[in-house]
Subunit: 385 residues, 2 copies
Amino acid sequence: MNNFRYHAYTDIRFGKGQVACLPELLAPYGKKVLMVYGGGSIRKNGLYDKVKELLAEFEVFELGGVEPNPKITSVRDGVEICKKEKIDVVLAVGGGSTIDAAKVIAGGTFYEGDAWDLVADSSKIGKVLPIVTVLTLAATGSEMNKNAVISNMELNQKLGTASHDFIPQASVCDPEYLYTLPAKQTAAGTADIMSHIFEQYFQKNTEAYISDRFAESLLKACIKYCPIALKEPENYEARSNLMWASTQALNSLLSCGKGGAWTCHPIEHELSAYYDITHGVGLAIVTPRWMRYILSEDTVDKFCEYGRNVWNIAEEDKYCCANAAIDATEQFFKDCGIPMTLTEIGIDDSKIVLMAEDTVKYNNLKAAYVALEEKDVEAILRACL
Amino acid sequence: MNNFRYHAYTDIRFGKGQVACLPELLAPYGKKVLMVYGGGSIRKNGLYDKVKELLAEFEVFELGGVEPNPKITSVRDGVEICKKEKIDVVLAVGGGSTIDAAKVIAGGTFYEGDAWDLVADSSKIGKVLPIVTVLTLAATGSEMNKNAVISNMELNQKLGTASHDFIPQASVCDPEYLYTLPAKQTAAGTADIMSHIFEQYFQKNTEAYISDRFAESLLKACIKYCPIALKEPENYEARSNLMWASTQALNSLLSCGKGGAWTCHPIEHELSAYYDITHGVGLAIVTPRWMRYILSEDTVDKFCEYGRNVWNIAEEDKYCCANAAIDATEQFFKDCGIPMTLTEIGIDDSKIVLMAEDTVKYNNLKAAYVALEEKDVEAILRACL
């Protein structure tokens, strides 16, 4: 087992009505709050009004309209408000995109240059404003982790950055906020959660038994509850398990004792950078093709373990078991209604070479579970067409 | 799923050589450190010298000799030093007993009356000194939780207390410190870990799917690795998984979305209060008898789930499956070399009625998985003879 640090210090308030804790959670940091949110769904479901009502004693500034695949332009707008108004704490109300934008805003406030620098080079992140979140989507885990992914459409770049101080101080996770999600967001969010788990589970280290069993536990939760949530959007048991899975899948718990670079996320980030597609959809398309591409004598035991422990596949032959597990993964995404080819979402082969180049340029795929070069990424992307 | 708060904020530094982080972990709190430790095993294995060397820049005061089942007398001694020397931070170097004592010392420092008040009534705990730990035993989870259990031999009481501020700020967890543990401590520590998991797993709530799968993951880790650690005390994979299991088993992760009072710990606390036995041994003896006593139409499905998911028991009949799981639990403890009757550890029936009375008096067993009265506790204890 590798040495590790585990310090997921976010104060999670999980369950029905927990938004009522907001004043208590924000109070330690001051009165001036920048409330960051997305495209307006929180206005439709009443959450915007509820938060404003709860924060009557605070001085609330607002940055709305943060996009899916949040753009650096929104971040810059937020930084400007924080600097000008001397904001004390950033409150993100939304999904991962909103929270990610809030993180870079919180860091950008104390940075003299352009906030994009903090995305391109995380070592430039210094002091960070405290961050509190109200989560409305089960997907990225951003509510309890140090990561932020920001897009720069001028540069066709979608890059991840991170800081220990980006970990939110507190997050309100109320599964009822998921009731009104469109089916495709529920499905794409689940694919994102599962991909986070895969990226940590499929690594070379074999000694981190607990992390691997925890990973399988969360995968089984996704597989059990996503179909239920799609059929019964207001099923609390399904929504609450999906929401908790999203948080636990990427708060560093699953990588305790493990290590290694990720693969599918870097590849998907290029798809989003060039085509602005839904992150989870891109991941669902790439994942099974990546799995098939890297299946070999070196990896078959791990895929077989995945098949046995997650899908209850009884096949004795290990390649049969591994392939059945990969097929089951692809079929699961398909059954959730996710388009499973690039062609279906309007992407042809014209930029595949370019995207493969960029994937390798901006990420250390040599440290991945199976080291990949440009030609490998290109082959995986072609298999996705 | 019940609403919950999850705020396990301890900064865990896990792995070989992580004790080197100590100066960095203590520095934020000040220079005056009270180092609390136990019976001297840290002098034998070199850890005492290592810590003293690392803390050359700090002013270190010492409280050694903290007992297993730590006594309030030791706590009082520590409080006196903290008050007199104006200590900034309490450093516990040891197992759960040492850490538990350190917690009540840290709370007692700001309390005007006798520290036992904070054990008898947790609502009296106010401000608490910051606590940092170096863990040397995989058992109680005290390195990442709010609990402390202290004994008062004058009153024949062993009581648990808790405060959110008792959660250590940081804990160094180096599995190599477990290499020199006597086999009986390895076994008893594992029984303690497993009991913590059982207390949270066997509860009425059925919606907390993730917590239940996580619980099974940790149980499987204990069952896989304890026998290995007993045979090969320096097997790092076994020691690291047991150490991480101990931390995760009782940092509130497994009770997320669940609830209900505990049973075996309250019963064992009376055994320890009257006979000062090893906590984990008492738990191993009580647990299978408790399981058999509460097995009924109401609980059989849960025991069967336990059998299928943890012990891979294929029995179709649910009572057969449940009983096989309970038998396997008892046999596992026996195979680990734990004495499995009260008679073997020198306890007869003379105080059983008294202990049953006290169990019910000091704990809310009505809120347990299966509500128990005095006569039930008495019957369980008699089955342990």
